[in-house]
């Protein structure tokens, strides 16, 4: 895997996952389990980010 692809997986995907949906989700009134949906998505990005780093690190090795 090239350095560019590693940086894409390790950096670009987590940043995109967190930042791009944010304005749209923040405008919704939906609150699953009492948590604003934008915040709920943010919590889902925690394991997603670790997964991206595992993949990037694995290919680095």
């Amino acid at each position: 895997m090239t350095i560019r692809r590693q940086i894409f997986i390790a950096l670009v995907i987590p940043f995109a996952a967190v930042l791009i949906p944010m304005p749209f989700l923040a405008s919704l009134d939906w609150m699953p389990l009492g948590i604003p949906v934008a915040l709920a998505w943010m919590f889902c990005c925690l394991p997603l980010t670790t997964l991206c780093l595992i993949i990037a690190g694995h290919h680095q090795n």
């Binding site: 940086i7 390790a10 950096l11 987590p14 940043f15 967190v18 930042l19 944010m22 304005p23 923040a26 405008s27 009134d29 609150m31 009492g34 948590i35 604003p36 934008a38 915040l39 943010m42 919590f43 990005c45 925690l46 394991p47 980010t49 670790t50 991206c52 780093l53 595992i54 990037a56 690190g57 680095q60």
Partner: protein
């Protein structure tokens, strides 16, 4: 409550004394940077100190109570995205640090730019920026000591907190901070789990309003709020990775593999943030009367826990502040003794470092006594200045050659732009002025890159 609080601190002191064993007494590097011998586990514990710091444990629920879920988004966002930034940046920083023999960021600037002036300027900037950090921790410590009901006036509590902080730092340096981090995080994770579980189980007992009503009262979503969240995440995820105590932790790692292994799992370490949000939600929906928003976590804990358990929680929160203060103080002392007055003999470096730490703690206690701002706002001020160092650090780790004057102009210019925009009437539509300053800084360096 007091007994369990004291036992917690005594256990931490015992760990600090344990850390002294095997240290090379005359080597200041051992005090400030643990000989660069930290494997993945100790590096992980030292680095995740920020995850459950006073800023997170007290500032996050307090910020949600004061400002709503908008604050929660950028607060979690920047800490989370700092981990992938660190995954890419820290190995480069570590290699640059190893090549330069660096244990502080100014060391790197001196070696790359071959300039002591550059070193001292960067050191001065970092020292100034670290003042709000100490203030934040003492605001939190004062809340903790106030909750113990010792019957002492606030200035006395602050003084006592400073003595405690100094004692911890003086005993065994960075290795102690890493070991005590383990105890601190075990207590904090347990405290957050316990308080949140009780809050959730008591949720239906006499709520005064729903979560939706409570969050509507704290502020509606808007483009301004979204732009502030996104721009703040961008700025602070970068700044988080170059904070002086983070750089010191990076230079202390044994190798690049340790760093990458630790960074990979750090996002999962944030798994208790939903519970911190639940604690804030409980306070909002049950109209708990905290003396100020930053005391929300402690107010919820006091309303739900028996005295002895509250003592453990207070001990954990106190340790959170003390460990974080320890890391910051050690970074500060290292910067002063290595970069401001580098000609000291090795056996004078540690003594001078301790004097610097004592002065810093005194200033932090004083400024905490006069504070009227949220912990989260002090955090933002710190990053506003710190992030202007990012272009310079990128220059170093990628081995680019730039003129010293251009780099400094970019740095100060970026900071001036950010500060002027922050204090002006210009409508930025919510964009964090630090980001605008950073873009100006980077553009300036790019334009004059010969």
């Amino acid at each position: 409550m007091l007994a369990t609080f004291v036992v917690t601190l005594a256990a931490a002191m015992a760990l600090a004394l344990l850390a002294r064993r095997g240290q090379h007494k005359a080597d200041p590097r051992a005090f400030f940077a643990a000989h660069g011998q930290f494997g993945a586990v100790l590096f992980f514990m030292l680095s995740v100190g920020e995850t459950y710091s006073i800023g997170s444990v007290l500032g996050f629920p307090g910020g949600v109570v004061a400002s709503g879920s908008g604050l929660a988004l950028w607060f979690i966002g920047y800490i989370l995205l700092a981990f992938p930034v660190g995954f890419v940046l820290y190995p480069l920083l570590w290699e640059s640090g190893r090549a330069a023999g660096a244990i502080t960021l100014p060391d790197l600037f001196r070696t790359h730019f071959r300039s002591q002036t550059m070193e001292r300027i960067v050191a001065g900037i970092l020292i100034l920026l670290m003042l709000p950090l100490g203030t934040m921790q003492f605001i939190g410590l004062s809340s903790v000591l106030g909750a113990l009901d010792l019957g002492l006036p606030t200035p006395a509590l602050g003084f006592f907190a400073a003595i405690l902080a100094f004692t911890f730092v003086a005993v065994a340096g960075l290795r102690a901070a890493a070991l005590i981090s383990i105890l601190k995080d075990a207590l904090m994770l347990g405290a957050i789990l316990l308080v949140a579980t009780l809050a959730l189980s008591h949720w239906n007992y006499h709520p005064t309003r729903t979560m939706a009503e409570a969050l509507r009262h704290t502020g509606a979503p808007s483009l301004r709020v979204d732009l502030f969240a996104i721009s703040t995440i961008l700025v602070q995820s970068l700044g988080f990775c170059i904070a002086p105590q983070t750089a010191a932790a990076t230079f202390s790692a044994r190798n690049v593999a340790s760093i990458r292994r630790a960074q990979t799992w750090m996002p999962l370490y944030m798994v208790l943030f939903p519970l911190l949000f639940a604690i804030a939600g409980y306070a909002l929906t049950h109209k708990l009367d905290a003396s100020r928003p930053d005391a929300t976590f402690l107010a919820v804990a006091a309303s739900l826990l028996p005295g002895w358990a509250l003592g453990l929680v207070l001990g954990g929160v106190a340790l959170t502040a003390l460990v974080w203060l320890g890391s910051v103080c050690l970074s500060l002392a290292a910067i002063v003794t290595r970069n401001i007055v580098p000609d000291l003999k090795p056996h004078h470096q540690k003594r001078t470092g301790l004097i610097v730490i004592a002065v810093y703690l005194a200033l932090s206690v004083l400024s905490a006594s006069f504070h009227t701002v949220l912990i989260a706002n002090l955090n933002t001020l710190f990053y506003l200045g710190l992030v202007q160092l990012v272009p310079g650090i990128v220059t170093i780790v990628y081995g680019h050659h730039r003129r010293i004057g251009i780099t400094l102009l970019g740095m100060f210019g970026g900071f001036a732009v950010a500060l002027a925009l922050r204090d002006s009437e210009i409508n930025l539509y919510g964009v964090n002025p630090a980001l605008i300053g950073l873009v100006c800084n980077a553009a300036f360096l790019k334009a004059f890159n010969k």
